[in-house]
Point group: C2
């Protein structure tokens, strides 16, 4: 049922997207699907230009300035076969990365998503992983 | 880009599962995939017995006792075609429902997921919708 730490991290690293959850001062929580890359203890979420946004002032950034804690959830859903369900959740906190780390995380992101070749992301939001837990039905 | 309120609600109502995000006192936020049903302003999330859990004392319930605010996110992901992406997020608060409302929400849930015919859920967590917003790439 509980995924071991290595399996949970491997599934998160391989996931093609996740849900980023941040703390909102009025609503309590916000959640939005995001692309991301992961290297060691760092995770990068792009502020991209490919998927059109309502505003350049993203609510997720406003939330993170107020409270740097966040969660990243990836999951496998199967409507008909619930023995195949699993999810992995990383508890993360906004962090900084040096240029080499940023370059590496950015390169990983472009490898995962060729869409960024033609429409580069504007910047990266960096997080440090605090804990990864996972659950599997089988 | 922004989905109108009726479209957002219709997509949420039709979604076969969602991510439930709650407030955690240390981690800031928690997130977990859930099944749910929706009727009017009420949403029901089952505490089920089909998908094995680590404990009968679910963290989501501990979180909601401390802070009744939550969010429910459903989304459509497409790895290769980002013009097809969309998501809908409901800001919700834990609430109560009368017996008729509970029966109706429970019946909707069993209609959506035949799995509950053979392994009934133990109880329902009820939320009242405060706001629904949605985004679509196209």
């Amino acid at each position: 049922m509980n995924l071991d730490a290595d399996t949970a991290r491997a599934r998160l690293r391989a996931a093609d997207h996740a849900i980023l959850c941040t703390v909102h001062d009025v609503r309590g929580v916000d959640a939005v699907p995001v692309c991301f890359s992961m290297a060691g203890e760092l995770v990068a979420v792009p502020v991209d230009t490919v998927k059109p946004k309502r505003s350049t002032r993203l609510q997720r950034l406003v939330n993170l300035e107020r409270d740097p804690r966040a969660a990243l959830l990836c999951e496998h859903w199967d409507r008909s076969d619930w023995t195949r369900l699993w999810w992995v959740r990383a508890s993360v906190i906004r962090a900084t990365a040096d240029d080499a780390e940023r370059d590496h995380l950015g390169a990983l992101l472009r490898t995962k998503h060729p869409q960024y070749d033609t429409a580069p992301f504007a910047s990266l939001i960096i997080f440090r992983i605090r804990d990864v837990t996972g659950w599997s039905a089988a």
